[in-house]
């Protein structure tokens, strides 16, 4: 299947494949962990059972998504060594400690409190349980902090020295390494992307159930919360993305040239190419639809500011233009579609008809997976855009790989593709099945089977199935079909 590919290209495909798959899960679970903390906090504050029901509804989904994130994440932590050993040897002294801090301050925190969060409510009481939920949410954020610092350092390396043996060594200040120039922008942009990804999934599930029953109070609550996020966070995200772009222009201009499709320099104001087909052979964008001078306006805040193009970059230092150009447009397009949904929901809210707008609900369902697409497109933009370097300007991707034989990498790549599509495909299907159940009063938590003699038929839930003292709620009719 891969006999014509060399070991380097196979290793690159394998890394791209495994990291893209992995990224979907934290992109969802970072936001969902925070959402669960908000729901549990609101339940503790107001005592309203709708929040507890929603907490339990999303907790089941979180458990599956988190497990997929963990197992695909461990693959990443070893793949630096298995497939990129030259990079690991050279960059280990600088980025290794940051990743060790991620394990110490984030992974243990998440994993240590996850068990209590999932199964411990009737063992530790409400307040300690809430504390555990907060720790898990904090852990997901801290994890993003460290790994994005690592990624940012690879994009905009600072604070290092080069050793006699060719290794990158830490300079006197770790602050300069951790808070490298692109890190604050990347962190804000990525974490907001994770929040939006979750918000649009929650919004889609709410909208789906509103379309079936617009009176469902649980669906209403989650839809409303998600639409507030869409309306407030999307504009902030567009602003943050713009700032990130300006930062990239300063530190990685070739990436911005590829995003903009600027093969040529424009001394008197560069056009904003909306669409077109980049042709790297001819070094031009064919069939371009462009707004004159608008690119200079956006990037330099001056209609006539000169902008350099890829003609100023040696050919062997240019990123592949087509992928960067297209993935950037997909990301931006989705961002503005998200903004549209947010504004539409505000308009509905003003008119008091938020739960009564089937076309908004249909659009929200359609936009459910949009966050994942945007996150992936953004990731491709930034990762392909920094090629041909793995450490920008200093270490080429081609010089960073392990000395492995092509058949070994081909076999592992094939195995990853088969296993990931099967295992994670099934996991996503289980999540969709859970989402297909209407949220209702007396929602179950994460259940671990009906093994006791009392419930051999799985019909009458025992008292312990409703943690948090909700056993006495009279509104609850056990749903036999609810997956346990």
């Amino acid at each position: 299947m891969f006999e014509n590919l060399d070991a380097l290209l196979l290793a690159r495909i394998q890394f791209a494949f495994t990291v893209s798959f992995h990224f979907f899960f934290p992109a969802f679970s970072i936001g969902l962990a925070s959402y669960l903390a908000v729901l549990e906090g609101l339940w503790l504050k107001t005592g309203k059972s709708v929040y507890l029901d929603l907490f339990k509804y999303w907790l089941k989904i979180f458990a599956i998504a988190f497990a997929m994130g963990v197992v695909s994440g461990i693959v990443m932590s070893y793949q630096f060594g298995t497939n990129w050993s030259v990079f690991s040897d050279k960059a280990g002294p600088v980025i290794g400690p940051l990743m060790a801090y991620e394990v110490l301050t984030a992974f243990f925190l998440e994993a240590g409190f996850l068990g209590v969060m999932l199964f411990g409510m009737n063992k530790v009481g409400k307040k300690l349980h809430f504390a555990a939920t907060l720790m898990v949410a904090l852990g997901t954020f801290v994890s993003a902090f460290w790994i994005l610092s690592v990624n940012s350092w690879m994009q905009t390396p600072t604070g290092f020295e080069i050793g006699a043996n060719g290794q990158f060594l830490p300079g006197p200040s770790w602050w300069d390494i951790v808070f490298n120039p692109s890190f604050p922008y990347r962190l804000v942009h990525t974490v907001m992307a994770a929040y939006l990804t979750t918000a649009f999934v929650v919004g889609a599930v709410g909208a789906w159930h509103l379309l079936k029953d617009k009176a469902n109070p649980h669906a209403r609550k989650m839809f409303s919360m998600a639409m507030w996020m869409a309306a407030i966070v999307t504009p902030a995200q567009i602003f943050a993305g713009d700032m990130h772009g300006l930062n990239t222009l300063e530190h990685q201009p070739a990436k911005v040239m590829a995003m903009e499709g600027h093969y040529q320099s424009h001394p008197n104001g560069a056009p904003l190419i909306l669409f077109g087909i980049p042709d790297s052979e001819a070094k031009t964008v064919r069939y371009a639809i462009e707004i004159p001078k608008a690119s200079s306006l956006i990037l330099k805040h001056d209609l006539n500011a000169p902008l350099a193009g890829l003609d100023t970059i040696p050919d062997d230092e240019e990123p592949p233009v087509g992928m960067v150009f297209w993935s950037f447009r997909i990301m931006v397009g989705i961002g503005f579609a998200m903004l549209g949904i947010g504004l539409w929901s505000l308009w509905g809210r003003v008119r008091g008809r938020l739960y009564d707008m089937p076309w908004l609900h249909r659009a929200a369902v359609l936009m459910g997976p949009s966050g994942f697409a945007a996150v992936l497109a953004g990731w491709i933009t930034t990762e392909v855009g920094r090629q041909p370097y793995v450490i920008y300007g200093l270490l080429r991707t081609a010089d960073a790989a392990s000395p492995l034989d092509a058949p070994a990498v081909a076999a592992s790549l094939l195995a990853f593709i088969l296993v990931y599509f099967t295992v994670f495909g099934i996991g996503v299907w289980y999540i969709l099945k859970l989402m297909g159940h209407a949220p209702h009063a007396g929602e179950y938590g994460v259940k671990r089977g009906d093994t006791g003699p009392i419930r051999t038929a799985g019909i009458t839930p025992g008292p312990t199935q409703n943690p948090g003292g909700e056993d006495t709620l009279p509104t609850h009719a056990p749903d036999e079909k609810e997956p346990v």
Binding site: G81, A111, V423, T451
Partner: protein, 331 residues
């Protein structure tokens, strides 16, 4: 004090913590087919469901710590054992998701139970074989692995792999003696005796093979004056092994489990004696492979601040789910 030595002990501690903590999780996975479908399997899995994720995190600390503190060793060992590492990772994928997936669809439960066992077995075997591949030596040229991609497959690595599988199964069975009662406990006891005996035999076989494998290893254990320092390890191992078998037959709670851990501790100490001071035997000492002082000291601050906390809240999480597993599981 030499930070490189400190870091060698920190990595060794992380690996030890991983081996015993995920060891009993993986062991339960390996033993899973011998449990009756239904109540017995559910209880066995429920006994580790709240803690497996934290247990597995020690593997990330071991790997991540190696990357950070000994990047050259990380960059040599992982390509040398490439197929084993990939197999372990994929095994852990199946094992990890099975915890959630087996409850999602009754029609798929039998399949995910098999995935749980298969994943646990493959991960355990691959980990043991990786250890064997490291001990038997790795070809290094300059700063890179220089062997072929099948060097890791030898009778010796198969032996270390099987030894690890048996040891994990032993830990899993002793954990279940602690967490279960009644008929299920009696079943765990039977398994623990069987796998305990297998573990002891395989540990002995690996130790003898080590001595035959490499003249330096033999000198480490058999020549004076070293023999006086290292002799307590095999003697203590024999004492612990016998006490453990006794406890398995008699004790109703945690004693067999703790003695199983002691057995692992002694086994790892023996490996430490064998391999010291190399990160990759005969090729790279820990000082050859070490990250610079600035990397080591920066991380050491983090370890000093967080590791006590990690141990505290991990202990708390275990405490929350203490005692015998209830029928209905944790929720």
């Amino acid at each position: 004090m030499d930070l490189t030595v400190v870091w060698a002990f920190i990595i060794a501690f992380a690996v030890f913590a991983y081996v015993v903590m995920d060891g009993f999780d993986l062991g339960i996975g390996i033993l899973f087919p011998t449990f009756a479908a239904g109540r017995e399997r559910d209880r066995a899995m429920n006994s580790i469901a709240p803690v497996w994720d934290g247990n597995e995190t020690w593997l990330v600390l071991g790997g991540g710590g190696l990357f950070a503190a000994f990047p050259l060793a990380y960059a040599v060992i992982l390509p040398a054992t490439y197929p084993l590492i990939i197999a372990m990772l994929l095994g852990l994928v199946f094992r990890g998701v099975a915890f959630e997936y087996r409850w999602r669809d009754p029609g798929h439960q039998a399949f995910w139970d098999k995935a749980f066992t298969g994943g646990s077995f493959v991960a355990a075997l691959a980990q043991g074989m990786t250890l064997g591949a490291l001990l038997q030596g790795i070809e290094v040229e300059g700063r890179a692995y220089a062997g072929s991609w099948w060097d890791w497959l030898t009778p010796y690595t198969l032996l270390t792999g099987l030894g690890t599988v048996a040891g994990y199964a032993l830990l899993g069975a002793t954990w279940l003696i602690w967490k279960l009662d009644g008929e299920e406990q009696a079943h765990a006891r039977k398994l623990a005796i069987r796998w305990g005996a297998a573990t002891i035999v395989l540990m002995g076989a690996v130790s003898l093979y080590n001595i035959a494998l490499n003249a330096d290893y033999a000198a480490r254990w058999l020549s004076a004056p070293e023999i006086y320092y290292v002799a307590p390890v095999p003697i203590l191992t024999a004492i612990v092994a016998l006490s453990m078998l006794r406890a398995i037959l008699k004790d109703r709670n945690s004693k067999p489990f703790w003695l199983g851990i002691a057995l692992f501790f002694l086994g790892m100490s023996g490996l430490g004696v064998t391999i010291w001071p190399y990160a990759v035997p005969e090729a790279l000492t820990i000082w050859d492979a070490a990250a610079p002082y600035r990397s080591q000291s920066f991380m050491l601050v983090g370890v000093a601040l967080t590791l006590p906390l990690i141990i505290a809240y991990t202990a708390w999480a275990y405490w929350v789910f203490r005692g015998k597993v209830a029928d209905e599981g944790y929720h």
